[in-house]
């Protein structure tokens, strides 16, 4: 299937679901829960471009997510920018940081890159906590318009639609990467970087593309977060939950395919939304962590691995 066709279908489904639920569903909580699940679809898909496709593990997903969120806050304080610009800014900033960090660490072994991503998250967290312009430790508020634009009944519904479109976009990009020449090069790097280099694959260049793209998409997911909560503070945005989930979801769904993260995000994200109501937040996180350990040990190719018997 050609990429354009797939993108059209994905966007079409997103719009269809968004419109249908907007008309049929009364419960506002549905939209915020679904926003969170779709956000994970984007995060997991983005993570997997670098993690599953290229073989480089990023433990600092929260950093890129937070960069997106705080770019939005900073932009909002400067000038009240429209949402599309905020999203673009979030993606751009996160992508640039991804590029920079990749340039510093991707010449080394994958292990050092992974450790550097943890370092990045902690350094960024400390910077944000000490930066008063975006609220520092106290956090920052975002002013929401009284009536949501474009005739939506609520901000929650608007954001849900936006996130659905972003998910469609992220998934289309991931699929495009997977089936393209770029994807074959990334897979070669994942399987054996030295052999890839000796087969003519420009490994550093491709790794940088992968890190930049992955970071940018995570930043994109974070960009609308301030409007979702209307209040953002460092501990929430840098929560370890993002790091763990963005690894666990592709792992459980299947890391070698664009569909894996989607499956993982829908299942694990949906599960957490259900549990959240009945179970304290920490047990929720414990479950995700435990699933991560179990799957990585026993079923590293995830659900798609079972079905394909890889």
């Amino acid at each position: 299937m050609r990429t354009l066709t797939f993108t059209g279908i994905a966007v079409g489904i997103a719009l269809l679901v968004a419109t249908a639920t907007s008309v049929l569903v009364e419960n506002e909580y549905f939209f915020s829960a679904s926003y969170t699940v779709l956000q994970f679809v984007v995060l997991a898909t983005a993570w997997n471009i670098l993690g599953g496709f290229t073989g480089y593990v990023n433990f600092g997903s929260a950093a890129f997510f937070a960069l997106g969120a705080y770019s939005g806050i900073a932009l909002d304080k400067l000038t009240s920018a429209p949402l599309p610009l905020v999203i673009l800014a979030g993606a751009a900033v996160a992508g640039l940081v991804g590029l920079g960090m990749g340039y510093l660490t991707l010449r080394l072994r994958g292990v050092f890159f992974a450790i550097a991503t943890i370092a990045l998250a902690e350094v960024l967290f400390t910077l944000v906590v000490n930066w008063d312009y975006v609220g520092g430790a106290r956090g920052a508020y975002v002013a929401l318009a009284q009536t949501p634009p474009l005739g939506f009944r609520s901000m929650g519904r608007l954001l849900f639609t936006v996130m659905a479109l972003m998910a469609a976009g992220a998934v289309s990009i991931a699929r495009f990467v997977q089936v393209s020449t770029l994807g074959r090069g990334l897979a070669a790097i994942r399987d054996d970087e030295m052999a890839a280099e000796c087969s003519g694959v420009p490994t550093l260049r491709l790794k940088l593309i992968s890190t930049t793209l992955s970071g940018a998409l995570m930043g994109m997911a974070g960009a609308t977060f301030p409007w979702f909560l209307s209040y953002v503070e460092p501990h929430g945005v840098f929560s370890l939950s993002y790091a763990v989930n963005s690894i666990a979801m592709p792992l459980i769904g299947g890391m070698y395919d664009w569909a894996g993260p989607v499956i993982g995000a829908l299942l694990l994200g949906g599960l957490q939304q259900i549990l959240q109501v009945n179970v304290p937040a920490d047990w929720n996180l414990f479950l995700v962590g435990a699933l991560l350990v179990v799957f990585v040990t026993v079923a590293p190719h995830g659900i798609m691995g079972w079905t394909r018997r890889r």
Binding site: G55, Y56, V57, F59, L104, T105, L108, G110, V111, F112, A114, I115, A116, I118, A119, L120, E122, V123, T126, L127, V129, N130, D191, D192, L240, A243, V244, I247, L251, D282, W283, L285, F286, G289, A290, L292, V293, V296, T297, P300
Partner: protein
């Protein structure tokens, strides 16, 4: 600028450095010599801290005694964990980053388990000497830093002697470089690695008990120590204990000065910042291969 402020920052930095060496020597062994990227190392440190804290509040036992008593348990834990790791990941060969994800999961699960068991409040210990400070002219020597410093140094130096002078110690040094030679000598490399990893985790337990003497602990502290635990071996050269001491000195002094002159809220960023710089410029450190 006050000279005594400078002197005290320096002294604190050196005392801290000794402790940092204890914290990271386990990674020098696990990562530097065995090539096992145990980013869950700080989780075991925290387990040591909490064990010491519980023993202290329940029975009034000094953390160092708890550490000594529990070392065999931590050793066994490390040995078992390595078996699991080896069977699930090392044997399969490829995809070394899966092992990384495994340890990350362990780190995460341990942190959440501690939150569930103890909550997010800080825990500390009470010993006779924590409040005491010896004074030498303008320089203060707080015992809560000095005692861990002494124990850390003893442990680190003891390990170095063990590794370079005993037969088993030298098999550990060799296992990272030439497994075939070990086979030919009739030594099972996997067993050597297992025991070495056990030692690595045992040092984590001791370091944890020392940590809770220096400062109160809470579950998310583990993650802040990841930077430190890896920055030091990278700075000092992977797999070199002498290098670990040098790296620890650099980081201890840097952290102490940052806390004194810029405020303690910047201190965690120091180790991570140093790590990023070290990775960007000198991946094999000052001493190592």
């Amino acid at each position: 600028m006050s000279g005594s402020l400078f002197a005290n920052a320096l002294v604190s930095g050196l005392l801290l450095a000794g402790f940092y060496a204890a914290v990271s020597v386990g990674i020098a062994i696990a990562f530097g010599m065995l090539d096992v990227v145990n980013i869950a190392h700080p989780a075991f440190i925290l387990l040591g801290s909490y064990a010491a804290s519980v023993a202290n509040s329940a029975f009034g036992i000094d953390p160092i005694l708890t550490a000594a008593a529990l070392s065999p348990a931590f050793f066994a834990l490390g040995a078992v964990l390595y078996r699991l790791y080896h069977a699930s990941f090392e044997r399969r060969g490829r995809e070394p980053l899966r092992g990384l994800a495994f340890f990350f999961g362990i780190l995460f699960v341990t942190e959440v388990a501690l939150i569930l068991a103890f909550g997010v409040d800080y825990r500390s210990v009470n010993t006779g000497y924590i409040g005491t400070t010896w004074r030498f002219g303008a320089v203060d020597l707080p015992l809560r830093l000095f005692v861990p410093f002494v124990v850390s140094l003893a442990m680190t130096v003891g390990l170095q002697i063990f590794l370079s002078r005993t037969f088993f110690g030298r098999t550990v040094l060799a296992v990272g470089q030439d497994q075939v030679a070990l086979h030919l000598m009739g030594v099972d490399p996997v067993r050597v690695k297992q025991l070495a990893f056990g030692i690595s985790i045992a040092t984590a337990g001791v370091a944890g008990a020392l940590l809770v003497i220096i400062q109160p602990v809470q579950p998310s502290l583990g993650r802040e120590y990841i930077g430190l635990v890896f920055a030091i071996p990278v700075l000092g050269g992977m797999g070199s204990i002498a290098g670990t001491l040098v790296g620890a000195a650099v980081l201890g002094i840097a952290t102490s000065f940052t806390a004194t002159f810029f405020g303690p809220s910047w201190a965690p960023a120091v180790s991570f910042g140093v790590l990023l710089l070290a990775l960007a410029f000198r991946p094999s450190g000052l001493f190592g291969r």
